[in-house]
């Protein structure tokens, strides 16, 4: 009886895998990636490698949250480090002074980042394009000034240290961050697929038209800032608890720029683009450690070259090479096919 029931679901799983996942290489890659991340500790418990992947996961959440705001909603945010830093500091302070455990301090840190999102979202409502970008750049710098003004609370340049760990072990930390990363990015992706996500995308394309359609763009823009802030704040809190220190380095301009680089490199207006970019570039930067002097230079050169040939971003370029869109039903197919898998129209 139970065997029959199990067999039914296994067959269903098989047909889903064959029908939905294996038809498109991009989906296969995603599934393999998830499996790789989840099953890695079974093969290697090397703490250094796990550390790199944990940090990559944290930054992947950050980059994806940037894409949600700046890619989809078109509000170019050059101060994303603000959310990260607010999340990190809040979680750290709550943990240190009020002894709130990580599973409490991190969400509160994220909520503080949401508030920060609203604080910067409101002035930015009337700004467009480059004005918006440069204004958002200013906020983390102002906050950093405040951080240095109140060294008693924030520890100034020393930051807040002595924070408790995420979990008892490196493997525990790893699974928490990886599962959170996969979950949150899926959530973000689902948001972009929902009605809200469509409105975000529309705001980016033509805000005037959206307003003309009767939608309150102010509310949606603020929502975008808040959501982006929430996810970025979560990643900040995770960072603080993993590194066990939250310092002014979480608010640096360099971090904001790096997030933008990752996202554009991977491809904006996707959520998976920035995630992939982080997982490619961050280990690459670590890998290049054996040429310590040339590391950052090579990083910059790689970015320059990639942007030269793939200005849309790496992942969309790869995706275009391995998949084709059917002209009739608009569904994606493997590039080698001659006819669409659903409507059998010719793909050439």
């Amino acid at each position: 009886m139970i065997m029959g029931w199990l067999a039914f679901y296994l067959r269903k799983l098989y047909s889903i895998v064959r029908g939905e996942i294996l038809v498109l290489p991009s989906r296969v890659v995603v599934v393999l990636f998830c499996l790789f991340l989840l099953l890695l500790p079974l093969f290697s418990k090397d703490p250094y490698m796990l550390r790199i992947l944990i940090q990559a996961s944290i930054f992947a959440i950050l980059a994806a949250s940037w894409d949600l705001l700046s890619g989809f909603t078109g509000q170019m945010n050059f101060g994303h480090a603000l959310f990260f830093g607010v999340g990190a500091y809040t979680a750290a302070l709550l943990n240190l002074h009020l002894h709130v455990p990580p599973w409490g301090s991190i969400p509160f840190g994220a909520l503080a980042a949401v508030l920060a999102g609203l604080v910067i979202g409101i002035p930015c409502l009337r700004l467009r394009g480059t004005y918006l970008a440069l204004t958002t750049l200013a906020f983390p710098i102002i906050l950093m000034g405040i951080v240095f003004t109140l060294p008693g609370i924030t520890g100034g340049e020393l930051g807040v240290s002595g924070i408790s760990r995420l979990s008892g072990s490196r493997i525990g930390d790893y699974y928490i961050t990886v599962v959170l990363m996969l979950g949150l990015t899926t959530l973000m992706w689902k948001i972009t697929d929902s009605k809200t996500g469509i409105i975000f995308h529309a705001i980016r394309e033509d805000e005037l038209a959206v307003r003309a359609s009767g939608i309150n763009t102010t509310r949606y823009k603020l929502l975008a800032f808040s959501l982006s802030g929430f996810f970025a704040g979560l990643s900040g809190g995770l960072y603080a608890h993993f590194m066990r220190i939250a310092g002014p380095s979480t608010l640096e301009v360099g971090l904001s720029f790096t997030v933008v680089i990752w996202a554009v490199f991977g491809g904006i207006v996707t959520i998976y683009g920035p995630v992939a970019a982080v997982f490619i570039l961050f280990p690459l930067l670590e890998f290049l450690r054996f040429w310590p002097e040339y590391r950052t230079l090579m990083f910059a050169v790689v970015i320059l070259l990639i942007l030269l040939y793939m200005p849309e971003g790496l992942i969309p370029w790869i995706r275009d090479k391995i998949e084709k869109q059917c002209p009739r039903c608009k569904l994606r197919n493997v590039a080698v096919r001659k006819t669409c898998r659903v409507c059998t129209a010719s793909l050439d």
């Binding site: 290489p25 090397d46 703490p47 250094y48 240095f148 020393l158 590194m243 450690r289 080698v336």
Partner: protein
């Protein structure tokens, strides 16, 4: 077909990652990691000091560990701490898990060292600090001995002692000025860069200076990366200060000295100016940094004991510049770790910690003994005072950094006078003499 290709690519990627992950291990060497910002002065000094120590020890056959002799192998780790604390922690972890070092020396930026210390303590490896002065690093040892006992500080003396020594400099120069220039009351302008580490010192200065019989003319706090302090200098001049008590560790030290020299402000600079410790200071200030006085760990020609001169001279000969405090990695390896290993006959961290914390030995910077706090808990902090490490007060005279303190210094009225070999008298800038001649 394409699916299979993707699958194989993933396998290959996994294999590559694992290949990097699997560490290499050579036998019978003592691996010491040297971690610091290798693209900058501090990291270079870390590496230079360590290299010299390792080579000298290896030239004699290595370190005697019980029955056999083992050579020292240094592992360079670029923490990049100026830019990125994440990088620093990754570098430390890499040292621990990939390079599998036995000991670590180095560190510089406080925020990064606090994080790196945690990692080294997790792996129970001895980490000897040669950079950050913050008291917190050693206070942690007292608070949580079992976790942090593997940490020792080699250089510099901690912030509290740095403050105390600078006040002694102030008193010394204040007395010289009062006598030579016939001043009724010496006024001091306190200028510290806006940073957490200077806060305590500024408050202490406000309290201590009146007790020394001098007056605080005002307090200024420029940004650590200020490129123009002419405004502050105008205000300082107007306040009538005779001495400027500088508390700088960042670039503002250069800007301040240069502009003060260019504007011929009638006040002498005494205190802490880390940039002024470097040989490149004259070029960086375009020669205007003459007569600046600062605290330093080494100075050409100054000898704390018989180990100082061989080290300083060899360092200058090999690297062309005076060693800075970061080159204390030399002392850390040659006079702290190696003798401890030989005496205990083991590389076991716990046994070494127990030995080192109770030892008193000579190093090139002075005699090292480790402090305990008021409750008797070990701090693993180096002792400051005559007969131990006092650091040296240096002054730029005609493009050369000369030692000017301690010069007939008495720590307490009953203590014996201390003057190191190679100390020369302090010089007052001519334009200051001119300004007060009336």
């Amino acid at each position: 077909m394409r699916r299979l290709k993707v699958g194989w690519m993933m396998m290959a990627a996994l294999g590559l990652v694992l290949a990097i992950a699997l560490p290499a291990r050579a036998a019978d060497v003592i691996k010491i990691g040297v971690i610091g910002p290798m693209n900058f002065m501090q990291g270079k000094a870390h590496w230079n000091g360590a290299t010299m120590a390792a080579e000298e020890i290896n030239a004699k056959g290595g370190v005697q560990v019980g029955q056999k002799k083992m050579m020292i192998e240094l592992v360079k780790a670029d923490s990049n701490e100026h830019i990125n604390v994440t990088d620093a922690t990754n570098a430390m972890e890499r040292l621990m898990t990939q390079s599998k070092v036995d000991f670590v020396v180095g560190g510089f930026r406080t925020e990064a060292v606090l994080a790196m210390q945690d990692i080294a303590m997790d792996y129970k490896k001895i980490f000897i600090g040669c950079g950050a002065a913050t008291d917190e690093l050693c206070l942690r040892v007292a608070k949580d001995y079992n976790k942090y006992k593997y940490w020792f500080r080699q250089t510099p003396i901690n912030s509290t002692f740095l403050g105390r020594t600078s006040f002694i400099h102030l008193a010394t120069v204040g007395a010289i000025l009062k006598k030579s220039l016939n001043l009724p009351q010496v006024k001091i302008a306190v200028v510290g860069e806006k940073a957490v580490w200077t806060e305590g010192m500024i408050k202490a200065a406000e309290a201590t200076i009146p007790k020394m019989g001098m007056e605080v003319a005002g307090i200024w706090q420029p940004s650590p990366v200020a490129t123009d302090v002419a405004a502050e200098l105008s205000a300082i001049q107007r306040s009538g200060a005779h001495i400027i008590f500088t508390i700088f560790s960042a670039a503002v030290g250069i800007t301040f000295a240069r502009q003060a020299g260019e504007l011929k402000i009638p006040a002498v600079q005494v205190g802490i100016n880390v940039e002024a410790q470097k040989d490149g200071f004259t070029q960086a200030t375009q020669g205007m940094g003459n007569y600046v006085m600062t605290l330093n760990t080494y100075a050409r020609g100054v000898e704390f004991n018989e180990l100082t001169k061989p080290f300083v001279d060899a360092y200058i000969k090999r690297f062309g510049e005076t060693p800075t405090y970061n080159a204390g990695t030399y002392d850390a390896i040659k006079y702290t770790l190696a003798p401890a290993i030989e005496k205990t006959g083991t590389l076991d961290a716990d046994k070494l910690v127990a030995y080192i914390e109770n030892s008193k030995y000579m190093a090139s910077a002075g005699t090292i003994a480790y402090l305990k706090d008021a409750e008797g808990r070990p701090l693993h902090e180096i002792t400051w005072g005559p007969g131990y490490v006092t650091s040296v007060g240096v002054q730029w005279q005609d493009g050369e950094l000369k030692g000017v303190w301690p010069n007939q210094w008495k720590a307490t009225p009953e203590a014996p006078e201390v003057t190191y070999k190679g100390i020369v008298p302090y010089k007052i800038p001519p334009w200051v003499i001119e300004a007060y001649k009336k």
